[in-house]
């Protein structure tokens, strides 16, 4: 048993990867789903095991691939930060998989379903890989694996525009990945290493002689990753990609894909660049704060005017990512903890919201806000879960979103910027409007004839939704998992003990 535990880091990747290969050989959707379910079911236990071990020992777990010692070989290096993000991603995978069966069965042609699950598992493996690896180039490889799988997932959407959206995302995603690898290349030229931990030690001496390439690398990597995480104004690919992808893919990606990219940004800044350049001295953090604020306001206002429900939530995602990057850019303990807490909470809430819309689409085939008039009376549990998750997004006390905003507000005050607290709470008011609009349409309008036959979705779709809504409330009270872990991560990243 201890031998197995030794290999947990690589199993985290291998389980979904082998699952993907197996599903590629199946011909029936149900078999492929079963394999995906097993793989997704195992992944969170591995993540949880890693997180517990890291928290207990306080030491990062290093796993050397093929016995090639780092920095020559590829090293998987798990500290509190990646273990936490691994848990977010694999938990969303676990909770999504029961939902997938019915949703995918109606939205994807039956001969394509095995491929759909293959892509899903590849995407999961890629995202987990980005997070677990300690090697900059290996991260690029996993970034490409997950991205290519994502493009395929999006392109499988029923709407014809799905193809165009996937294509746009492909172009932008490739630009982003290219920028990232250019940055990695520049760093490799000046330091001769690709290992994050090794980079951190060698960058200091290199900085003295080659500061221009290093700053250029920083710019390339920042922009490249900003594209992947959809930081304003590089978010424009996201609304269409989310809106036209199959319901299941949207919900899964909204909870995970951007989180992995945010992780990568946090990793290169806090674990690599921060060692040589004090982040607070760089103008980058101010730029990111400004862009985050722009995202919080401009994207939220756009969400208010959006007619397509999924696009509305997609714009809201752009705004919520703004809160996360804002917290990280504050670069103090509570701010970083706030960003990390919101990563978890946003994954939970946004997945729940997209689940609810997916369930409505499952029963009605509709996605425009106005066409869902009166849906609250036909699908009361689904709509109520939507409202709960929506309250979380607003940051109503007693929900997870409140905890995030609380940390962020304290981070802003500790930064000495009290006005930022106002911006945080003010932008929450915009969420009141766009969620309120949906509530008004769903509850107060007469049901349209098209939705006359709508009723609650099957239990396999309803249960994950209700669990996530309940988690939104639960995480508003019990903050040990989110707040507690996030604080120790923030301590660790900012140079304290984990």
């Amino acid at each position: 048993m201890s031998g197995l535990q030794e290999h947990l880091p690589i199993l985290q990747i291998l389980v979904p990867l082998f699952g993907a290969i197996l599903t590629a050989f199946t011909r029936r959707g149900i078999t492929a789903w079963a394999i995906a379910a097993i793989a997704s079911g195992i992944a969170p236990f591995i993540s949880a095991g890693l997180l517990i071990r890291v928290l207990e020992t306080g030491q990062p777990i290093s796993y050397v691939m093929g016995s090639w010692a780092a920095p020559w070989g590829i090293e998987y290096r798990v500290d509190v930060l990646n273990a936490y993000v691994l848990l977010i991603i694999s938990l969303i995978g676990l909770i999504s998989i029961p939902y997938a069966r019915k949703s995918v069965a109606t939205e994807i042609d039956s001969h394509k379903q095995p491929w759909f699950y293959t892509m899903y598992l590849l995407c999961l493996a890629g995202l987990l890989g980005i997070v677990i690896t300690g090697d900059a180039f290996n991260a690029f490889v996993f970034l490409e694996i997950s991205s290519l799988a994502t493009y395929t997932l999006i392109a499988l959407g029923r709407n014809r525009r799905a193809l165009l959206s996937a294509y746009q995302y492909l172009i932008m995603g490739t630009i982003g990945a290219t920028f990232y690898i250019i940055g990695v290349g520049l760093l490799y030229v000046v330091t001769g290493t690709l290992n994050f931990a090794d980079l951190a030690t060698k960058l200091g001496p290199a900085m003295a002689t080659h500061n221009k390439p290093i700053l250029a690398a920083m710019a390339f990597m920042t922009v490249g990753i900003s594209l992947k995480l959809a930081l304003f104004p590089l978010h424009v690919w996201l609304p269409n990609a989310y809106a036209y992808a199959p319901s299941f893919a949207t919900a899964f990606l909204a909870g995970t894909a951007t989180k992995a990219a945010i992780y990568l940004l946090a990793r290169i800044y806090f674990s690599v660049f921060a060692v040589v350049v004090p982040l607070k001295e760089l103008p980058v953090s101010e730029v990111i704060i400004a862009l985050s604020l722009a995202a919080m306001f401009l994207a939220s206002i756009t969400a208010i005017f959006e007619q397509n429900a999924k696009r509305m939530l997609a714009y809201s995602s752009v705004a919520q990512i703004g809160y996360i990057t804002l917290g990280l850019a504050l670069a103090n303990k509570m701010g970083v903890a706030g960003g990390l807490v919101h990563m978890f909470n946003h994954a939970i809430m946004k997945t729940a919201l997209f689940f609810a819309l997916g369930a409505m689409a499952y029963r009605t085939g509709l996605g425009q806000m106005s066409s869902l008039a009166g849906i609250g009376r036909k699908m009361p549990i689904t709509t109520a879960a939507f409202v709960v998750a929506g309250l979380g997004l607003i940051g109503v006390p007693g929900t997870a979103g409140f905890i995030s905003k609380w940390y962020l507000a304290i981070g802003a005050i500790n930064h000495g910027w009290t006005w930022l607290v106002f911006m945080i709470v003010l932008s929450s008011l915009l969420a009141v409007i766009y969620i309120g609009r949906f509530v008004e349409i769903a509850y107060f309008r007469e049901p349209a004839p098209e939705i006359a036959n709508a009723h609650e979705p099957p239990a396999s779709m309803l249960a994950p939704l209700v669990i996530l809504a309940a988690a939104t409330i639960y995480l508003g009270f019990d903050t040990r998992l989110t707040g507690g872990t996030a604080q120790s991560i923030a301590n660790y990243l900012l140079g304290g003990a984990p």
Partner: protein, 563 residues
């Protein structure tokens, strides 16, 4: 020793509220009546001091902290929940009753909360639950409910910002007396005052409350404004600004209630007016004034509920609520009429009613503090209260012309609810001892002295006389204010009206959709953020790539400058 046995009374009502929508028939009735009684018993089991606490994010949350003031407010909230539940037994909309009980539970939660975070959490529970109570008023209430929610969200934002900053600066979450020395405390004060119906946002109250159903308004009248009074009393006793805020509210309520035609809107304005008395008392801040404000909150909840119950009965039985459509109902609804008159006498502070023994304490507080102008204004306002609520409401609804309506009396439970409240109004008026006993400070005040009684009777009789002399003009309610200048001096009135116009404009701008400013803002936002706007449309791929390059250029440039 008995800490483990403490059950927060809030939990009982909130749990009952969550269960009620799923129950029918006798079970629902039992729960509606039993929950407030159990809560009341629990309230009186809570000894002084922190009884139940937990820690959250490193702060101590005092979920239950008992003292005299908390028990006083909690008692009247529980009585109110019981009376309201009894009155509403025949309300078929279980969602409304459930929301109302959660709302009442939130109010109990605020009362016993010993720290700012718990206050805030229960505060928001109330905001959400009460919004559902407003919405249960039917389709016509949708807009009012949304505006109500928006205002309370705004209040919540102010409060949260203030509480966050306060906790950070003091390092403790405890809810104790605060001065108004820091911006954080101003924010907290503003958040509290929004719920009290203070200017410039008083208009949410008469906008939302009359939109609720015949039973919903009864619940709404009690909790939101009075919890605000409670937290002001806890947090800001003696804050001078509250005197001015309170006096403004007193006259705002009177002016608008006299101009108003809808009976429930009259009573809603009169809530602002009455809460104004309490806020003024808190601003004066002496023990006498605070006792008076607390006692007045207690009696006000009961007689305002009684008034709104009788108005609700009329609305339910006739379907009308405009004074001009009503009249002469005393013929077939004598019981409701008597109940309405008792409520009207109590709100006018007639001797032998509960209003008399509480309101006079606030005036006494002003007198003791040698605030002559405040005392005169309060006395003038008392006459104004008699005009708008004491005579105008019962006269136009139950007497006046014969509207030809012959509605029967409401069902037994509604009459029982009114009877209970009326019994409190008279009982407390005749024997104020038990109420004085539970006030936060020792009472050495005797309400029934000859001079008090004679003064109040003179005031009431003269304003009553004025009412009937002016009756002809009162019917065309628009003209009335021109003839009542003598009540408050002309310039004062002019300022009041201007201020009111200002606050109305502010309100219009805020609730928008109709007002010009809002729609032009809406249009320009839509130009950029709508589906066709630059932020909302799908960009060509080239444009995306262009912006990516711009971002790269920016970072590189910044890097160069930084070096």
């Amino acid at each position: 020793m008995t800490t483990s046995l403490i059950i927060p009374p809030a939990v009982i009502l909130i749990a009952a509220g969550l269960a009620i929508p799923f129950l029918r028939g006798a079970l629902r009735t039992t729960l509606l009546l039993a929950a407030p009684i159990i809560a009341l018993l629990l309230i009186w089991q809570i000894p002084d001091g922190v009884q139940l606490s937990t820690s959250w994010l490193g702060y101590e949350l005092q979920i239950v902290r008992g003292d005299k003031l908390a028990r006083l407010f909690a008692t009247v909230f529980a009585i109110m929940a019981f009376g309201g539940g009894l009155f509403s037994l025949n309300q078929s909309n279980s969602l409304e009753l459930g929301a109302a009980y959660v709302y009442a539970g939130g109010a109990l939660g605020v009362t016993f909360a010993g720290d700012l975070i718990s206050v805030f959490v229960f505060w928001e529970v109330m905001a959400v639950a009460s919004t559902f109570v407003v919405w249960s008023g039917g389709r016509a209430a949708n807009g009012a409910g949304l505006r109500y929610a928006a205002i309370h969200m705004l209040g919540g934002v102010l409060l949260m910002a203030g509480i966050t900053a306060e906790i950070l600066s003091t390092g403790s979450a405890a809810f104790q007396v605060m001065d108004t020395s820091t911006p954080a405390r101003w924010l907290i004060l503003a958040g509290f005052l929004i719920n009290a119906g203070a200017p410039p946002l008083s208009a949410w109250l008469p906008d939302a409350y009359p939109a609720a159903s015949w039973s919903g308004t009864v619940f709404l009248s009690a909790f939101t404004t009075k919890t605000a009074v409670y937290v002001l009393m806890r947090g800001f006793p003696g804050a001078e600004i509250l005197i001015f805020v309170g006096l403004y509210m007193v006259f705002y309520g009177i002016v608008y209630a006299i101009l108003e035609n809808d009976m429930r809107r009259i009573l809603a304005y009169s809530i602002v007016n009455q809460v104004g008395f309490m806020v003024t008392g808190i601003g004066i801040g002496s023990e006498m004034a605070l006792n008076g404000a607390a006692a007045h909150a207690f009696t006000h909840i009961i007689y305002k509920a009684l008034l709104l119950m009788s108005a609700g009965s009329v609305l339910l039985m006739t379907g009308r609520s405009k004074c001009t459509d009503l009249g002469g109902l005393f013929r077939t609804m004598p019981f409701t009429m008597v109940m309405g008159v008792i409520g009207a006498l109590a709100i006018s502070a007639f001797p032998l009613t509960s209003g008399f023994i509480s309101k006079s304490m606030i005036s006494q507080g002003a007198a003791d503090a040698h605030l002559a102008i405040v005392w005169f204004l309060l006395a003038a306002a008392s006459a104004g209260v008699f005009l708008h609520a004491g005579i105008k409401f019962p006269w136009f609804v139950f007497f006046q012309k014969d509207s030809g309506l012959r509605p029967p009396e409401p069902p037994w439970n509604m009459r029982a609810g009114m009877l209970l409240m009326a019994a409190f109004c008279i009982g407390l008026g005749v024997a104020p001892g038990p109420l004085y006993e539970i006030l936060p400070y020792p009472v050495d005040y005797v309400p029934y002295t000859a001079s008090h009684v004679v003064f109040q009777l003179q005031l009431l009789l003269f304003s009553g006389l004025a009412f009937f002399v002016m009756l002809g003009m009162l019917k065309r309610t628009r003209t009335i204010t021109l003839d009542f200048d003598w009540l408050y001096r002309r310039p004062g009135k002019w300022i009041m009206l201007r201020l009111n116009q200002f606050s109305e404009k502010f309100w219009d701008g805020l609730t928008g959709g109709v007002s010009e400013t809002f729609s032009s803002l809406d249009a320009s936002l839509r130009r950029y953020h709508g589906p066709k706007g630059v932020f909302g449309r799908t960009w060509p791929t080239g444009q995306m790539a262009f912006w990516t390059t711009v971002m790269l250029g920016t970072y590189v440039l910044l890097g160069l400058i930084w070096m």
